[in-house]
């Protein structure tokens, strides 16, 4: 992402997208296969819980629905942050960037709470193929959200240093692409793990 400094708004490029934005799109294409592999692994192992807790026994769907809602709302604030910067409204841009980062952190907090609850209830990382696949898939997603939060904080820092101006709104747009992608992936994960009826023991 460092080369976002090279401002090029995509005039005269082959695709009409700037190099930086196309790079992010291409990267997200690759990420689809990363999560595709992890989701497939989970689907193969969701009913292989051995003597440990079964997914249907342990999931707290209302709780996870709330934290999913929080994450989806962060996409809204991300859009507002970009719109603010495109208008040249630095102050609101900062507000919404901070809101996005906070909502993301709230989601991560929910995940930490969920993980610790599961471990207390006897679902450790090594309990069964199901538990390994569950923690790995949701953990990888959590790492992606966390990296997104770091990027948002970096944007905030550069905003306070005065370098995040209207002319560089594309940087926010590109990080926004990543953030929305991570949200969309969560919609898939939430559906596959929680909403599709899970086996019980």
């Amino acid at each position: 992402m460092a080369d976002t400094a090279a401002v090029s708004h995509g005039h005269g490029t082959g695709t009409g997208l700037s190099n930086n934005k196309l790079l992010m799109w291409v990267f997200l294409g690759s990420e689809c296969l990363l999560f595709g592999g992890l989701i497939s692994t989970y689907l193969i192992y969701r009913s292989r819980f051995g003597d440990g807790p079964a997914p249907g026994d342990i999931f707290d769907i209302p709780f996870t629905s709330v934290s999913s809602f929080v994450l989806l709302m962060s996409s809204l604030t991300m859009v507002l942050a970009l719109a603010a910067l495109q208008r040249g409204d630095i102050r609101n841009n900062r507000v919404w960037l901070l809101a996005t980062a906070l909502l993301g952190s709230l989601f991560i907090g929910g995940q930490v709470y969920e993980f610790t609850t599961f471990v207390r209830e006897g679902l450790g990382y090594t309990t069964s193929p199901f538990s390994s696949a569950f923690f790995t898939l949701t953990g990888f997603h959590g790492v992606h959200v966390s990296l997104g939060i770091i990027m948002l904080m970096s944007l905030l820092i550069s905003s306070f240093r005065g370098t995040l101006t209207k002319e560089r709104s594309e940087t926010v747009e590109i990080i926004g692409l990543y953030w929305h992608f991570v949200d969309v992936v969560w919609i898939f994960i939430f559906t596959v793990i929680y909403l599709v009826p899970s086996p019980t023991s």
């Binding site: 005269g12 990382y125 390994s132």
Partner: protein
């Protein structure tokens, strides 16, 4: 595009590190972000690993030359054949393809550099870090021994208790980052930075094949990333992905690996297809036959390559329906490959063929790959494959496609583009020695393996007892392997001798082969700034069309000499990207983290410090150094590299000079 610098100006105070200034000596090579130098670095590093992997191959053949071989012993033998495979696939063929892609892709699409020069340098250094890390396992006494495809649960901690498979998993993970970054970079370069007028279907076939390969990498690398993570977690954190005792599926690894692994096969072969699609038309004095078919068959291979992975698993118990489906899809993928072979033959047909060394190697690819392709089709017949699985027949097959297909094509590329890169030709005489030694040795080594395999000799065994009829062909193959080594030696001698001879000879001139594509518009060797002026592309084989036109009878006649068409490399106002320390610093941190995960977490600390320092330095380093030295004696230092094609003025004059052809 000077406003970039103004925007970057506030970031200067935090960029407290001094920027590399040198453009001579080793410092230049370490900090360079020039795609041409990075291409050369890829090539040089890969050739070092080629020699290492070749020595491993010779050790294997020595062990197997006679029955009850005692050269290596079973344990070392396992490590040697594993590392031979891993080295040749990930550290030789892939980086050699990357060498050609890096050097040629921007030139063939008429660009100043790749889209992200610093990321490009990062790709190379990360590749080198991963490769060195993996080979450090030899020094630390625990190299991987689970075969290049590392089937879990066999590679789980129960059956492979040492650290070897951890080296494998972390090493490939590191090199995977390099492939992924490089793939993203080159995709953006091709899609965004083509010269004006160069539509997708005016791109050279080599550029097309490299583009397909980058998409394959983009989508295949994350799959093996997942598999390697799961293996690492199983081995180190006790997860249960590959642990059948806890109910895990023992086929999960095989599926994940081959979903990556079969596209990987095309990642290895398609660059070579691209290279010979440039070489064969040039030396047949004809345009490529059926250009759209060449392109679409390459794309078709790219798509279909995702639907054949389970043919590696016919005997693993995936069930008759899966076997039948993958059997059929495997037969189908032979169709686009066959299209390519027929098109190469049709290109040669009726041409005035010049058998210079590049053409010899290219015809070697066509013939040897056909043999390998045909033995591949025999695997698609599941009943036959049941007999062939895990025998030397398989070893013969994949060496015919990877050595006979990929490597020979890369050698064709060496001889073809050597003047482009180094400004002098390689000796044709030594080149012919190189070719004939390699092709004879290659067929002596791997031809008999078909017979050995059908006789029932297992692959991966470290020795065999006398009396099975294996003795003769094994000795024969070992002799062949040393003849290949002589061929490689002839290449190395050729490189040294030709460089020496070139000092006393006049320069090679801009167009030694009467070539066809955009890279030959630049003088040889390519100047640091690539093109003097942007090229307005009007046809496929633009360079050729500016040299030749038609007379009133429709006969092709020469209308311009190469010297008239080529640029003279004298541009003085080209912007160059500034060199940077950070790619190499970031990459240097990765092996420390890897070793830290294996031995003591404390080693991760210097690794993490290097990585964080590099990311921090990188982020606050302007793409261009506002008050740095001017990169080259006749070049202004630069603006951002990405504005090629967007900021420059269209080269109207150049277009007007072009004869209509």
């Amino acid at each position: 595009m000077t406003y970039t610098m103004e925007l970057e100006a506030p970031a200067r105070p935090l960029g407290a590190y001094t920027r590399p200034k040198a453009n001579t000596g080793w410092r230049d090579w370490v900090t360079t972000i020039d795609h041409k130098k990075i291409g050369i670095l890829y090539g040089a590093a890969a050739m070092v690993f080629f020699v290492i992997g070749g020595i491993e191959a010779l050790l294997i053949r020595l062990q197997l030359a006679t029955p009850d071989g005692t050269v290596l012993g079973a344990d070392t033998y396992n490590r040697v054949f594993t590392m031979h495979g891993v080295t040749m696939v990930f550290m030789v063929i892939m980086p050699l393809a990357a060498a050609f892609a890096n050097y040629l892709l921007p030139l063939q699409v008429g660009a100043r550099d790749v889209a992200f020069p610093r990321l490009n340098a990062l790709s190379f250094w990360i590749f080198l870090a991963g490769a060195v890390f993996l080979n450090m396992s030899w020094l630390l006494g625990d190299s991987p021994d689970g075969g290049w495809f590392a089937y879990a649960p066999n590679t789980g901690v129960v059956f492979s208790p040492g650290k070897g498979m951890d080296f494998y998993a972390i090493g490939l993970q590191i090199m995977g980052i390099a492939s992924l970054v490089s793939a993203m970079n080159l995709i953006v370069t091709v899609l965004n930075m083509r010269a004006p007028g160069m539509t997708l279907f005016k791109m050279p076939v080599f550029t097309w094949m490299i583009l397909v390969v980058q998409f394959l990498l983009l989508f295949a690398v994350p799959v093996i990333t997942v598999a390697l993570f799961l293996l690492l977690f199983d081995r180190n954190f006790g997860s249960n992905f590959f642990n059948p005792e806890m109910g895990a599926d023992p086929l999960l690894w095989q599926h994940l690996f081959w979903i990556f692994g079969h596209p990987e096969v095309y990642i290895l072969i398609l660059p070579s297809f691209g290279i010979i699609s440039e070489v064969i038309p040039t030396f047949s004095r004809k345009p490529i036959f059926g250009y759209p078919f060449m392109v679409f068959s390459g794309i078709a291979i790219g798509f279909m390559g995702w639907g054949v992975w389970a043919h590696h698993m016919f005997v693993s118990g995936i069930g008759p329906i899966s076997v039948a489906a993958f059997s059929v899809s495997t037969m189908f993928i032979a169709v686009p490959t066959g299209v390519k072979i027929l098109n190469w033959l049709a290109t040669m047909w009726g041409g005035r063929i010049l058998f210079n060394t590049p053409m010899l190697f290219a015809s070697g690819v066509v013939s040897m790959f056909t043999i390998g392709g045909l033995s591949g089709v025999t695997h698609s017949l599941a009943p036959a494959d049941t007999q062939q699985t895990d025998t030397y027949y398989i070893v013969a097959h994949f060496h015919y496609v990877i050595f006979g297909g990929a490597l020979l094509g890369i050698f064709a590329g060496f001889y073809f583009w050597w003047p482009k890169v180094f400004g002098h030709l390689l000796s044709d005489k030594l080149g012919k020695w190189n070719f004939w030694l390699m092709i004879v040795g290659f067929n002596m080594t791997f031809g008999p393996m078909h017979i050995l395999g059908l006789q029932g000799m297992s692959r991966r065994i470290d020795s065999y007892s006398p009396g099975f009829g294996f003795e003769f062909w094994n000795m024969f193959a070992t002799i062949g392997a040393f003849i290949i080594a002589l061929g490689v030696l002839a290449f190395i001698v050729n490189v040294v001798m030709s460089a020496r001879r070139a000092r006393h000879e006049p320069p090679v001139g801009p167009d030694p082969w009467d070539a066809r594509s955009l890279e030959w518009f630049t003088p040889n060797p390519t100047p640091v700034h690539n093109f003097d002026d942007e090229i307005q592309v009007e046809a496929l084989d633009e360079f050729w069309h500016r040299k030749y036109g038609e007379d009133e009878n429709g006969q092709v006649v020469r209308v311009a000499s190469a010297e008239e068409v080529c640029q003279d490399g004298s541009a003085t106002d080209t912007h160059l990207p500034s060199p940077s320390y950070w790619p190499v610093v970031l990459a240097a941190g990765l092996p420390f983290v890897g070793l830290g995960l294996l031995y003591t977490l404390w080693l991760c600390v210097p690794g993490a410090v290097l990585i964080l320092m590099a990311i921090y330095g990188w982020s606050f380093e302007p793409v261009d150094d506002p008050d740095g030295p001017h990169g080259h004696h006749n070049d202004h230092d630069g603006d951002e590299p990405v504005d090629d094609g967007s900021g420059a003025t269209p080269a109207e004059e150049t277009a007007e000079e072009a004869p209509v052809g």
